[in-house]
């Protein structure tokens, strides 16, 4: 088991991903077609965007439970703005700014008032969900993409045959990867998760960085909200429910420690794909939805066990 753990650590989650793909392909070769692979990317992009932001938060040793609620709220605002006549080219950046603002709200309480991230984001999750219901009166906004070509492009568009949601996910990944690995900010994120007191005494602006990771998480959630609203062509008041758990699962499967300080964005990228391949693959080979849930949970548990072993 120890040895297994160290192999897992070195080659990351890629082995798990490839093994999963291999198993599914053996059972049903239809899985490994270009069409289906692109489809998987399309399907995972929403969870992927959230999980990328979540990785920053978890690396600092925090957690963001409000991502689904931010997704839901920003999707709803987007729907209401566009059905209210605001051009989509204006509404989309506005909604991203709102996501960032809600994230700042989380970050403020967590860094300045030193409250626990779990409690703060549990509270704001409930608050933001409430806000969504308040602004929408509980009624979905539908036909959102009808006169909004830019928004429509977010889910239906493609460049050189590559679906646009996949492009967003991959580009966001690359930008955030550079931010995390090659900037002072990114190294600070790791340092805070490693030991916040040491980081602070090393003159790292810990409060500012901690606030910013929630801003990033909020903004990524809002971006995911834009993609989801585009895909559904409507904004549902409860659209965001449950997204936080899939995102956290992807981060953890990707090998990032919930204690902070250790993990990689690339791991999250693979973790997102593992969840996507599981969902898609289990469907393709005809596993019932009930079993799918169970197997997904099992994979998460397995990832944590392996991670635990490799950390020793």
């Amino acid at each position: 088991m120890e040895k297994l753990g160290s192999i897992y650590n070195r080659f990351g989650t890629i082995i798990v991903l490839l093994a999963l793909m291999l198993i599914v392909t053996i059972i049903n070769p239809q899985f490994l077609t270009m069409y289906n692979i692109l489809n998987i990317f399309k399907q995972v992009s929403i969870n992927g965007l959230i999980a990328l932001g979540m990785t920053f938060v978890i690396l600092t040793g925090g957690i963001d439970l409000s991502v689904g609620a931010i997704l839901g709220f920003s999707g709803m605002i987007l729907g209401l703005m566009i059905t209210g006549g605001t051009p989509d080219l204006l509404a989309i950046p506005a909604v991203l700014a709102i996501g960032a603002l809600l994230g700042y709200f989380n970050g403020f309480f967590i860094s300045k008032l030193k409250l626990q991230a779990f409690i703060v984001t549990l509270a704001t999750m409930t608050m933001f969900n409430g806000l969504t219901l308040i602004v929408s009166d509980g009624i979905p906004a539908s036909g959102v993409t009808k006169d909004a070509p830019v928004l429509d492009f977010f889910s239906q568009g493609s460049i050189l045959g590559i679906p646009f949601p996949m492009i967003i996910f991959v580009v966001a990944f690359l930008i955030l990867l550079i931010l995390l690995q090659n900037t002072v900010f990114g190294r600070g994120v790791y340092a805070i998760g490693g030991n916040e007191e040491v980081a602070r005494l090393s003159s790292i602006p810990t409060n500012r960085i901690k606030t910013w990771v929630y801003v990033i998480s909020g903004m990524m959630s809002a971006l995911a909200g834009v993609v989801l609203t585009s895909r559904l062509s409507s904004a549902q008041p409860t659209a965001g429910a449950g997204f936080e758990l899939d995102a956290i699962a992807a981060v953890v499967i990707g090998g990032t420690s919930l204690a902070g300080g250790r993990g990689r964005l690339f791991g999250t990228f693979i973790g997102v794909l593992i969840i996507g391949v599981l969902n898609n693959g289990l469907n393709i080979i005809g596993v019932s939805a009930f079993f799918q849930q169970f197997i997904k949970g099992l994979v998460i548990l397995l990832a944590v066990i392996l991670d635990r072993k490799s950390a020793r």
Partner: protein, 494 residues
Amino acid sequence: MEIRMTDINKSFGDVQVLKNAGVHVKEKEIHALMGENGAGKSTLMKILTGVYMKDSGKIEINGEVQEIESIRDGENKGIAFIHQELNVLNEMSIVDNMFLGKEIKNKFGLVDKTTMAKLAKEKLLLLGLDVDPNTLIKDISVGKRQLVEIAKALLMEAELIIMDEPTAALTDKEIDLLFKIIRDLKEKGVSFVYISHRMEEIFELCDEITIMRDGEFIGQKTIAETNFDEIVSMMVGYDLDDRFPRVDVEPGEVVLSVKELTHKGKFEDINFEVREGEVLGFSGLMGSGRTEIMHAIFGNIPFDSGTVYINQKEVKINSPIVAQRLGIGFITEDRKNEGLILSFSVAENTVMPSLRTFTKNKLIQKGQISEVVAEYIRKLNVRTPNQTINVGNLSGGNQQKVVIAKWLITKPKLLILDEPTRGVDVGAKKEIYEIINELKKEGVALIVVSSELPEVLGISDRIAVMHEGKLKKIFDIKEATQEKIMEYATGGGV
């Protein structure tokens, strides 16, 4: 209890950490175990207490060859280990800690709190500790926690108690009490193995001493028949000619001056200044406010009133970020919790405060970092296999050098060192003093906070003495003696 360990060998993987190591502790004896960090003291003791299994060798208890199979087995044989980082749960009561895992049950199979509290109280009183056994550990001082650990050892009827750096976090008063208790227990037939870096304590307390180096038994001496220099040269393997190399530098401009600095309840009306090329020592008992002043100057804790000047200019330092920008470096006393991220690499730790200076267009230049880190590893003689190893794997002295490197890269004009040689072995201590001297020659202003009087006297140019939050006196090194400093540090001398 008499213990004789002979020819003990132990390897971890390819690394042999003990080579024919051993120790012979007689009944009613306080036996010091000394050696530099990494000499194998802890490993040897962990074998004695059943934490590790030996590869070969012999353990005799009261003349009988015995195997110690597990921690529980060691405890049953009457051997207790009190670790440096005390093994107590802060949120639990004294009695619950003492009986942890060995709770007494009543006839219903439930924990018998009354009996446990009674027995706990008995043992605590034996140590002169009159506290309610239901008090939470977090509500008693570190010194008392230590006594709780001893009480726990008595509870399991230990005949040999191993103590690893027991005084590291204690005040002088608590140390005196601890020593008295150890001597009392010795009279009652308990033997001790006493591990410490503090030579003065060993001479005060112990009967015999065993010296280890590089996992080997080097020699055993009777304390009354040996001396400091002999022990040190046995530990390091060569003669350490001068413990405190001293250089004389003509002090330059005033770098830091502090006026009427006050933080109610911690320190009050503190005034002092430090010049370029000068070492200002800070002496005083633990809890006298020395560390708090340094944290306040560094912007880590706020103060109520007073002014700080850097290069004669009034400054407002409200965070370590500002402090660093003004050219202040701060080596904190708690290396593990404040100085280093133990799970991060040597390189990552080394560049933490200076990372901003290694960027181009906001992007970190990794090549440049490894060059500079390599340069400082060489300069400070950090013994590490490479830059990417976790800093937690290095010995205490080398960890401390990494902390120093961390701040030297920022090119500070004022460097504050709080207990810079705590938990550092003798050889590395001298290297750290030499680094301090080197900085002094370069014109850096230095503040060294230290609880070790010989150290303060050995490296400072002037010595500030604190007592209960007040700066009682600043001595010039020419007029300072251990006695005078102690007098002021304990509230006398006015």
